[in-house]
């Protein structure tokens, strides 16, 4: 696995910070937010990017860490393996600065091909081609732009490609950064992010009674998924298993989830069926848990409907409470968090959850990490436009 996040630029750093309950949010440094209603975010720290679109650098770095762990330093995909990339991608980066430059009298477009390909807007799939070439992938990349569900969809599609027998190895994950004037400005216009400017570290408050929106984050996460016999043949050890996947459409509202969580429930049930397990076998839930007024109660309803009588027993947490909402990378990084919890036999807490909202009643992990064996963890991701994706992550 590989990760670049607001609380650590490797899986090890991320894991350490999660169990210490560290928030990655702070006042914006990348640009001056002026009088935008939200003037803070969860930014990645200390990663230099040769690309103006930093999510490209995040993706390459996370993919390299994952490949190094799976195959050793400097290794590519094994020559005879059928290998693919499955990635959730964020929006193209659009530069208003370049727009102004392009309309200035005497402007000459850049001649250098690198500069031309990143002037005005940068295609988001650039990083896929760079990764594909570096690691000699030989199957087409599966690109997912299902917004907040994209990272989970990418992992699910990778899992399914291996299960269907069309791939041996899939580098699956996501990358995103909308921490730029257009991205944050756009979200502010629809009043989606928190405006807790005086206390960014406490602003991401999933399921809390005083939550007021999500905290915009950025980063990347990648996992090397490998068919079991293929891994065994080369003596590779598994960290965990992806054992099921489901997705569904709400067909309800352009911006709001179905209030009863109906679509989310269908996706969760499909993921369990795909894994061949029932709700009574779920050990924990890594929630979508954005901290928005509408997601958290709808997700709560769906989880309660799924778990039935066990709804007050199965622990639930939200990684977004610490790293913010990584949009297209969220599902991937949160899956890595869930895997690290499985391996450590404990769940990180949901920070900033001081008073559970009346309509968000679940068994929330608060305060200290919860020591508990975790056999099957359900990971939820729900995107704008009612796109719901869920995977089941199991012990190795």
């Amino acid at each position: 696995m590989g990760a670049v996040t607001p609380i650590g630029n490797s899986v090890g750093e991320l894991t350490d910070a999660l169990f210490r309950g560290v928030s990655g949010a702070g006042p914006l440094r990348r640009f001056d937010p002026g009088t935008l209603p939200t003037r803070f975010a969860a930014e990645v720290k200390g990663v230099k990017s040769e690309f103006r679109d930093v999510k490209i650098a995040f993706a390459v770095r996370a993919a390299r860490e994952a490949m190094r762990q799976a195959f050793g330093p400097g290794e590519k995909m094994p020559a005879r393996s059928r290998s693919a990339l499955s990635a959730g991608l964020g929006l193209e980066l659009f530069s208003v600065e370049d727009l102004v430059a392009s309309r200035t009298p005497g402007f000459a477009p850049p001649e250098d091909r690198f500069a031309r390909m990143t002037f005005l807007n940068t295609p988001s799939d650039l990083c896929l081609h760079l990764i594909g070439a570096e690691f000699r992938l030989n199957l087409p990349p599966m690109v997912h732009i299902s917004a907040c569900a994209a990272g989970t969809d990418a992992i699910g599609a990778g899992f399914q490609a291996i299960r269907d027998g069309v791939a041996d190895v899939v580098l699956a994950g996501g990358t995103d950064s909308m921490i730029n004037p257009m991205g944050l400005g756009g979200f502010c216009r629809i009043t989606a992010p928190s405006t807790r400017n005086d206390s960014p570290e406490t602003a991401s408050r999933p399921f809390d009674a005083t939550r007021d929106g999500f905290v915009l984050g950025e980063g990347s996460g990648f996992l090397v998924l490998e068919e079991e016999s293929h891994a065994r043949a080369r003596g590779a050890a598994s960290l965990a298993r992806i054992s099921g996947y489901g997705n569904s459409l709400d067909a309800h509202s352009v911006s709001d989830p179905h209030p009863e969580g109906a679509g989310a429930l269908r996706a969760m049930r499909e993921a369990l069926a795909s894994a061949g397990i029932g709700p009574d076998e779920i050990s924990a839930v890594n929630a979508h848990g954005t901290g928005t007024p509408k997601n958290d109660p709808a997700e709560t309803k769906a989880i309660r409907a799924l778990l039935g009588p066990r709804a007050d027993e199965v622990p639930v947490h939200s990684t977004k409470s610490m790293i913010g909402h990584l949009i297209s990378a969220a599902g991937a990084v949160e899956t890595i968090a869930a895997i690290q919890c499985i391996r450590a036999r404990k769940m990180h807490a949901t920070i900033n959850l001081t008073k559970v909202a009346d309509d968000c009643g679940l068994r929330h992990v608060v305060g200290e990490p919860l020591a508990t064996p975790l056999r099957h963890v359900l990971k939820n991701s729900f995107g704008f436009g009612g796109q719901n994706a869920c995977i089941v992550i199991s012990q190795a």
Binding site: N121, H129, A251, G385
Partner: protein
């Protein structure tokens, strides 16, 4: 698997060979909307996708009840479009003494943006509008931006159908290219391409059973990673004379089916590095 039907929208007179007299695509989505108020959230790409998918579903003869949760939507979407008036607004409110001003941009330009523009910029919105207006609540896959991504979407759909996840799949591609930002992107890939660019969408209804236009015997995909900063790769294989972006392969096959000129085998090498061989059999 059967291609029950296809549907598309593009310039009038669009054919496989040559350019139509006008490259503009007339769009009227109003009659298809479940809720007329949702039109304000729709970008051109959303409207194109809905019209093409609706036409394909109508032509298939499938009723709404047959779709619902037994259908998946698999769409490939083109690069981010941005219309001139919106660019003008951003530009005019971001300059100070003739130069870009971060202060003005964050204080004025973004505050002046229509909030609905946020939804119009989200590339996954075509899937929402299709699912909402056609009442489809099964699964989805939404990809971007090259012609090869329509074929990976088709591959995913075929595997889902074979596995029995769904009975029907709406597989399509949509691209709004006649706007300032996408034209800029096209020109850096192939100078002159923007002059042939069209706004198009094409959708196929693929099913596990039923009679239809053709059967898909096989789809084989490969990949040759390309250097995104190197010389652009020119696509090879049966495509159209117009530049149809991600919808190119889908539209070519659909137009061939409509004119009974279907090939048994389509082989492509595409700009995004995807290679594909699609084998079809004629309808019974």
């Amino acid at each position: 698997m059967r291609i029950l039907s296809t549907g598309w929208i593009g310039p009038e007179g669009l054919g496989v060979v040559g350019l139509p007299a006008s490259l503009e695509t007339p769009i009227d989505v109003a009659p298809l909307l479940k809720d007329r108020k949702s039109a304000k959230f729709m970008a051109k790409q959303d409207k194109l996708a809905l019209i093409a998918c609706h036409r394909a579903v109508q032509a298939s003869g499938l009723r709404a009840e047959a779709l619902a949760e037994r259908t998946g939507i698999y769409l490939s979407v083109g690069p981010l479009p941005f219309e001139e008036p919106d660019l003008d607004l951003l530009h005019d409110k971001s300059i100070e003494e003739g130069r870009f001003s971060f202060r003005r941009a964050t204080n004025e330009a973004f505050q002046a943006m229509n909030p609905l523009l946020t939804f119009k910029c989200l590339p996954n919105m075509p899937v929402f509008h299709v699912s909402f207006n056609l009442a489809i609540r099964g699964g989805y896959h939404v990809a971007y931006p090259g012609a090869g991504q329509f074929l990976t979407a088709l591959d995913l759909a075929l595997r889902d159908l074979r596995r029995g996840r769904f009975e029907h799949a709406i597989v399509g591609a949509v691209t709004d290219q006649r706007n300032t930002l996408t034209r800029h992107h096209l020109e850096r890939g192939e100078p002159g391409a923007s002059e042939r660019a069209v706004d198009v969408a094409c959708a196929w209804v693929v099913s596990t059973a039923g009679e239809g236009a053709a059967s898909i015997r096989s789809l084989t995909l490969g990949y040759q990673p390309r250097d995104p900063f190197g010389e652009p790769v020119r696509a090879r294989g049966p495509l159209l004379d117009v530049a149809a972006g991600t919808a190119g392969p889908a539209l070519r096959v659909a137009l061939d089916l409509a004119s009974s000129r279907t090939r048994e085998s389509y082989e492509w090498e595409l700009e995004d590095g995807v290679t594909a061989q699609l084998e079809l059999e004629g309808s019974a």
